[in-house]
Symmetry: C2
Subunit: 580 residues, 2 copies
Amino acid sequence: MLKRYFPILEWSKGYDRATLTDDLVAAVIVTIMLIPQSLAYALLAGLPPEMGLYAAILPLLAYALFGNSRTLAVGPVAVVSLMTAAVVGEMALQGTAEYAAMAIALAMISGVILLVMGLFRLGFLANFLSHPVISGFMIAATLIIATSQVKHIFGISASGSNLIALVGSLAENMASINLITLTLGVAAIGLLYWARRGMKPILVQFGVDEKLAGILSKTGPILVVVLTTAVTWALNLADKGVSVVGALPSGFPPFATPTFDIEIWGQLFGSAVLISIVGFVESISVAQTLAAKRRQRISPDQELVGLGAANIAAAFSGGYPVTGGLSRSMVNFDSGAKTPAAGAFTAIGVLTAAIFLTPLLYFLPKATLAAIIIVAVVSLLNLGTLKQTWQYSRTDFAAMAATIILTLAFGVELGIMAGVGVSIFLHLYRTSRPHSAIVGQVPGTEHFRNVNRHEVIVTPEIFTIRIDESLYFPNARFLEDTIYDAVASNNQIEHVVLMCSAVNFIDASALESLEAINERLGHSDVMLHLSEVKGPVMDRLKRSHFLEHLSGRVYLTQFDAVHTINPHVANRAMEMSRVE
Amino acid sequence: MLKRYFPILEWSKGYDRATLTDDLVAAVIVTIMLIPQSLAYALLAGLPPEMGLYAAILPLLAYALFGNSRTLAVGPVAVVSLMTAAVVGEMALQGTAEYAAMAIALAMISGVILLVMGLFRLGFLANFLSHPVISGFMIAATLIIATSQVKHIFGISASGSNLIALVGSLAENMASINLITLTLGVAAIGLLYWARRGMKPILVQFGVDEKLAGILSKTGPILVVVLTTAVTWALNLADKGVSVVGALPSGFPPFATPTFDIEIWGQLFGSAVLISIVGFVESISVAQTLAAKRRQRISPDQELVGLGAANIAAAFSGGYPVTGGLSRSMVNFDSGAKTPAAGAFTAIGVLTAAIFLTPLLYFLPKATLAAIIIVAVVSLLNLGTLKQTWQYSRTDFAAMAATIILTLAFGVELGIMAGVGVSIFLHLYRTSRPHSAIVGQVPGTEHFRNVNRHEVIVTPEIFTIRIDESLYFPNARFLEDTIYDAVASNNQIEHVVLMCSAVNFIDASALESLEAINERLGHSDVMLHLSEVKGPVMDRLKRSHFLEHLSGRVYLTQFDAVHTINPHVANRAMEMSRVE
């Protein structure tokens, strides 16, 4: 029981020197990645850089205690940072103490929401974000994130929470471009791309081990940070208009209490739910992929508890909303991390940086951080999913396209909510017109198949329809309309058989429709029968009065139905193949 | 083609003297019912009584031209009147010209919405109102309607758009009760109930034909109107505090142009959608029941066009939103109406009343109209549906209870919207945890059944799960979690077979989950197979890359799957029954 809520009791048991070494190596590598990323994502969130570092210390320790993924690397991530900026930007002015306080409150509320979702097993809420909506949202968010950083590369100012506003604002301020900043920014982007693609082969050529070379190629961002900071300091570029990070406070993260103002909580609640769910969806997917590689188990509910604890920890140590990051978790895993202790060691690494390295970051150009963000998010851009979804399902593509367009046009919050709405609507629309088939008997067999696809035998007085969907409120009317149409347009029909082999469920609306169909067919002297009703569906029907009112009968098989209603036809159909 | 949009071209062909007689008789009876009802429902809607009459003239002619039910009786109905009062009451003060103009605008917008829904075949939108939501809404609306009329019976003033506000307001004003009004009102209610229950047996006893007696018992309201008006006039009760209808304008309905103010349309649009859909749902259900009795066909899309035309006609003739009424349609049908001409004749009857009878209505007490409303709606109250729904499905009951409570507490608009939200949410929640079964082979057969329900043979290295639901976004994660759990907790598993016999559809989210499951199982050296995939599902899978990546195979039957993976086990299971 205790182990369920404190996974640390589980993994700490067999902890030995070998595991310690593995975890330490991974922690060093992740720390090197995390320091520049956390500074950069804080910039993206519109927060002072040190808040990025704070969000990468205590939250990691909290997750190590409560999280149930062995290798998930928690901390600031791009999409959640963007969402934080969008939400807080509507309520406070960037750069003010109020803005930072709101971001901290957002982490607190988000942490509480995640914790409650975990304790009350509400993880299913994440299901409402369908895959096309998440993919579409990620594509749009990436474009907005990358565009939002262009101003730092050009050394101009611009603002906006959607693509249209951002591009407009950039175009307006393009005159005040700073060429030195641009050079620095473009060089940083080039270096980062080179580190990703070109560094590994060269290292391997120089005799570095393949795996080590792969890991070293992830240190691109820290190299770029060191290089550009050194250049900016040496050439005194800060005086030539290159915007730098400036003085950062050194030392431990502040232990502060987030606001519990009921009004602020009310204002932030809806947005916090969105941020929590998006963060959770991203995190659980990485966690499950990594766990599967070692055949480990992930409990989504405990994962919610872990992320909730991490966010609450962020709120109490001057951080902002965090979640499990895709790329850092992969590196953590690939570098050999075995337990959440690697995360705790990473936290110690970042804490060391916060205490000793902040003075060195004075001359770090913001353009470098922008370059790190752009390269990180653009490399995750997966446009192929657009084509695949289009080929697989037009409905899903529509949901994806709506999410992308609405997110780009109106920002992240409205975009993702509209996406959820659209995908639920399209799902209900699709099931409101389910696949159905009028069926007949395959000669020589007891099987019944679609009359349009097979050579089958039908009798004019028996109308058999198979609905390939559960019967429930979105399609209850379809069922009624289809049967009335058939009966009204064919006076020969005396029996309607509803073949229920694909019906997994009948809800109260569909039951009401069946009652109405039964009664109305009765007025026209047509009998209603059911066939091949599944056990659980039948159990439920027995709890209603429908079976008492049913004019016809319920048959175990469609063949039974036709054979009982008209033995002559069924037998003739059976014999046909023997003759042929 | 023309006939589709003008059903009159169809039914007018064989129109003869016998049909004319039938239609005329029905029209007379419906007119007698409709006159008091239309005055009463106008009162319920907070409008001057003559607007009720206007809503019962031109709309009926329009429906006779465009509607496709032969016997639907269109006009003012209780629930739509209540909704009109709720919507317009928020925007204008009752009794003002602005209030009436808003109600007229609502009819216009509602008409346009219905027409557009009909022309663009958007009737499926009505599916979003599940049966429990409609039933719950009707129960709550009935309670609100009945309570809202109590003030007229007591001769006091009260207001409120939800039950709590109404009851509070009634209690507050109870001191100013008018005993004469109360006596009149209670007497009217008693008379109306007697007419419904006791009149028919007495008439039959006096030798009146059974059917005629049944029809005459529907004339209760007009008798009560005549009696109470006469008493009020004779005893000069209007001077003793009995509130009367007063002077009504005589003559043809005014031909007026409704407002086209874009701002007013914007404010009324959402409410008009709700009113249109609720009206349509009520109407189509009556129309289909009556059509089935004569084996006639109802096109829901044309029905939308007919109702749209009726509402637009209402707007251009000083009326307010209308739809097909349940009780009047039943009477129309039972009285022998054969074609929509009966509706046209009814319109002429009401027009005659509007021209010649309005002066006689001066002393009609409002308490009488309130009594007519109360008896009409309470007799439609169906509380049995609560118990039935509870027995059949807790989920559906929850949606119904939520709709009732929220409608009573917050009024009709919020109530119905919340009901729709709750039923969609509960539906998604239900499918997010679909019924699934781990299956094994029934000895001596090629069948596979639930291991918990049957004595079956399973092999530890093959894990077969059957999900009894289509795979789509709400349950995609459930599928992942279930399979990972099984594989992580059982190291013997080498093959996972997903039995898809109940899967009617796989959406892009579930496809993504299958891809993830396949990839992650691959990391654990477990192969994923599918079996019994339906044709349309397979066609769609072929359009993705999933089948190329699939580590295992797709088998036609579950037996094929197990037999191919482990022939020894499958054969042994087959032989077992022969031995036993």
